[in-house]
Subunit: 219 residues, 4 copies
């Protein structure tokens, strides 16, 4: 790249700098959102004995499960975001803004997680908490899908790329979003089951069932 | 750059390292400030049914709107900061300090946001909260403007740059600051309307109405 | 690398970009987890005189000790992670996921730290808090060990590397994990002693007793 | 550097990667510590009118002043850290650990800041809060000084460097530490005056009174 003597080369290198900060802000927000989740795990304050503390921790399982689901979902979105930016040639103005919208939903996730931890399995208002949570997860996945489609159509992704990770992301986003809609509907009947469903969808995004060993090595 | 054999070249490369940490600290503060906002969204604690929870969430709309306004404003300032640093050749001592001052106001924003969420639409002290919030937004935009002007006058920005994003930033900062003053005045009469006004100004900074498609592509 | 004209070279450079974001997310989570610990140090609210405040601060010594242990442990894991990634040629899909699992446990650490600060030395439930804390530390060290073994077996680490820091990490991980098991058992008898034990293990990971001076210098 | 064909060159490039993560963790901790300060600004909850809210905000001036002092101090330490790393050729094991110790004190700063905001100007225990705060600031400045001295003696800093910023840092660290000791003593007599003293020391570190214009420009 640096041997290129065209005057158009300088804006190109500026573009690449901009990609760096686009990634830096994104990684910052992902890292903070994923780490803030722990603040919502409440330390039991009442127990007077080891036995009571164990029970109090065990009783808070929806909090831990919600923590795990949100962590897995943010992790899955980061993996997808990471796979996408790996193949970005450049970033344009519109992608920067779409990305801010994705970060808005990602950084918002700790709130529905807290709502869920507060209301699930209490017999009070758990359908609202479960649906609200599912919609937030669906919005994150949808925005990642929009980001990916825009980058593709605006020719920001190198067209010759055949990457296992990116193929995996692309092939799973649409079924994943359909699954979110189904699990949100399930949550109206059995809210706790929806929580397990959200975890399974996140793991479906995260785990490359058959792909990790096929990659060429340079060793 | 690396073919340059002058002894002055080494300080030049050190300067560039410094630009990296200048950007890293800034991106860190922007990412944290934008993500901390979610901590101020309170989970309703009283509702006993789905119906009550939906109402409680709906009643907290100033909190969500404030979240959206602050997120958009920090996002807009980040876009401007990003456009500016893309064209920085080097960073000098004074710019580092001006930037710390900008970060001071950006990292302070979650506080007036909380104040606003607490007092807006309660009939109590909302004029103070709305004005305080508007002044904080105005200070952020003004510092970004000062940063930009200093970088330009100290020849830290490459003078041959014609970038759509940078032109957009420059052409909108002054009208944006005038708009903040007007909306702060409006807020003394109708505090809630000011909140909508702040959102519109942030979106005005964020959206490049006619520019995103004109950029040359290298594909 | 850039002189290599094979078509396989491009995916290779993409791989390297991915390493950058893998490191950026990890550093973000480490930095946030290590800094969030301070939020759990409670400011005493009751004292009416300097004498009372000094006593109140002194009485909270388990909180400060827990802060120090968790800070040292996260610091030690970061040093190990840092030594490992220094010698990574590339990152594959599976390592990215293993790393997310490590970050899950690292970002979870503030919770058992809070639990410990709340219950240690109160005569109530301190065995549960101490064991829970030890298991979390053990999980972090184990995951770092798994990460290291996987990277080695999948040929992601350059095989010709002989680094003092990496040798130190490798030679201490297994004894460190055995020590965690012993100290967890000790904690069932004397919970406070376990806290000191956890600190010693973290310092054992952190301090390169005899190695730091042997490194070749390029000056 | 890349033309160097010695086998020792590879570890050298690994060293540089390590410098990147050393900086990334540091910038993360600085950014988070500086942004977390805002969480300690309490939103007044009692006021029923604009007049009361203005009074409540005005009454909390020690909170705002403490925020400003801690922000300025962390900013000053970051500037010094930044100037130092700009001239680091490499990082060795011991410097990594010294840096973790500096980050321990920096990330701890929000706690004495909170203590100060709670007790200053209340007539209760303010001497303890003020001294505790001053000692924390002194520890941060001392560690930065130790870091700088170690880097110099271990030949990690390029010896031919004559940088205005670095000279400034070096020439001000020792008087600054003496000033901290004096202001801590002053705080035993007049705690509020100490707060102003701490702010002046931070600004003394931050502002390069006569140096910023002497730097050569490459434009």
């Amino acid at each position: 790249v640096s041997q290129n003597s065209e005057p158009a080369e300088q804006p190109g290198s500026a573009r690449r700098t901009r990609t760096q900060r686009f990634e830096a802000l994104s990684d910052g927000v992902f890292a903070i959102a994923i780490t803030l989740l722990v603040l919502d795990l409440a330390v039991p304050t009442t127990p007077h004995s080891s036995h009571h503390l164990l029970n109090a921790i065990a009783d808070d399982w929806p909090g831990y499960l919600g923590y795990l689901v949100s962590f897995s979902t943010i992790g899955a979105i980061w993996l997808g975001h990471n796979a996408l930016t790996d193949y970005l040639d450049q970033v344009d103005s519109f992608l920067l803004r779409l990305n801010l919208l994705l970060l808005l939903f990602v950084s918002f996730l700790p709130f529905p997680t807290r709502l869920l931890a507060e209301y699930i399995n209490t017999g009070r208002a758990e359908r609202v908490a479960s649906t609200f949570y599912g919609l937030a997860l669906l919005l994150c996945a949808s925005l990642l899908s929009v980001l990916w489609r825009y980058a593709w159509h605006a020719h920001l992704v190198r067209p010759d790329v055949h990457d296992a990770e990116l193929t995996l992301l692309r092939s799973r986003l649409t079924p994943g979003m359909v699954a979110y809609v189904l699990v949100i509907a399930l949550g109206l009947l059995v809210p706790v089951a929806a929580l397990v469903g959200y975890l399974l969808i996140a793991l479906y995004f995260v785990f490359p069932v058959r792909l990790p060993r096929r990659r060429p090595r340079t060793t």
